[in-house]
Amino acid sequence: MISVLGITKTFAGGGAGGDGRPLSALEGVSITIQDHEFVSVIGPSGCGKTTLLRILGGLIPPDTGQVVIDGVVVDAPGPDRAMVFQDFALLPWVDLLTNVAFPLEIRKVPKAQREARARAALRLVDLEGFAHYYPRQLSGGMQQRVGLARALAVDPKILLMDEPFGALDAQTRQVLQEELMALWQRDRKTVIFVTHAMDEAVYLSDRVVIMTPRPGRVAEVLEIPLQRPRGPEVRGDPEFARLTARIWERLKALGAAQRPAPPEGGAA
């Protein structure tokens, strides 16, 4: 179980606006996430959802409040968590196999063993035949499948996904959403999935956390009672449309829609 307890985070003069004033990214955020749950966090750009994920990952500390995973306070990255990044974050100078094996190399897994595990992870995302390709030789969709394989290679309990499909075109995005669903259905890892796409949040999640604009607070937590496993046909379900509309109404009411969103920088 993951407990996010009253987290507040302010960046000193590091706002995306660049005006040098302290930027309040998160304010009093509390969420509880059960094991095997798929939870999306949605909100306008700059609502601090990426900051929340980085705190969960142990990359930055909160100012106040804490994250507790299975009774242990998070203060650093740990083997129970693996991240998937919006810009894929693949090492351009090594092939896919070495990229996927990299977290295992960090964990000092012997070479033969980590290559076997990396190959197995590449097989999960149907890229086994591309083991010795370089990232630049792949499309964005394929690169993100490598990013996913890298996270799965360490077999984490929790996947932290930061707008993983945000940089992809609509078609590729939909294909990857379906692949992610199929993969998730196998062992139901706990997933925290940051997104700004409403249909994506509904399609994937058990619950959707809707955040307010800056500073980010939890506005509402929406249950997604669609049946599982979910195939592409779920998108045609009237309930799917109703839930998506519901999120849209809520975001609009929060004033997220009218406001021209600043680009979401590293601090947001």
């Binding site: 968590r81 693996a82 991240m83 351009p92 100078w93 090594v94 964990r107």
Partner: protein, 257 residues
Amino acid sequence: MMRGAARAVRWLYDHAPWVLSLAPAAVAWEAVGRLVPGLPIPPPSAVLAALWTLLQSGLLAEHAGRTSLHLAVGFFLAVAAGLLVGTLMGRSGPAEYLLDLYLNLFLAAPLAALVPLLILLFGLSATSIVATVFLFSFFVVAVNTYTGVREADQRLVEMARSFGASEGLLLRRVILPGALPLILAGIRQAVGRAFNGVILGEMLVSLVGIGGLVMQFGGQFRIDAVLAIVAVIVAASALAIGAVQRLERRLLRWLEP
């Protein structure tokens, strides 16, 4: 006959452009050298003759060995130290704060003017020559390494940290590979500077090595021999830079589109 000549020119055009660049100048220089009496600049034929004599007498080979040693020791020390200092500055705030000024000062300073200081420190010895090579080639390696390390892709650094990478692994697998294009460019520049350094050091320190030979012939106004030696230095330097370029192409294959 004409066809054969045309084919030869074509071959040179494709494979050795420098021959076609040099040939007209050499012909003009040769003509001026022969037609204008009393000119202090010997024509290319005289330079080639001097080169032949130098090679045959074994004089050049004898001194080149010593020069290569000075060059290699100074250069590799400079590369190693440059990598170390540059990495330290790129990763550590205090090191960056304290050393940045020195790096900029030395990059702007006329290093040749500092060689007498090295001679005072190390005497008329090989150490002074090696130190001169070091002085000439260290700073470009350090500054390029520093820049490359500092500008590391923060997204990749964050990725590595999220999986719990130690500083050592982060450097080895993420930061230094990312900085490699800049580091190798710095090393390539350092090669040319090291050649300048070794010749200057040898000229000022001693009568040994290629630089010593230049001083010796210069003192005798044997400009033909001096030019022959300069040509040899330029050729050696070009070969060394070419070797680094081949290394760059091999190590940076991942950059190619």
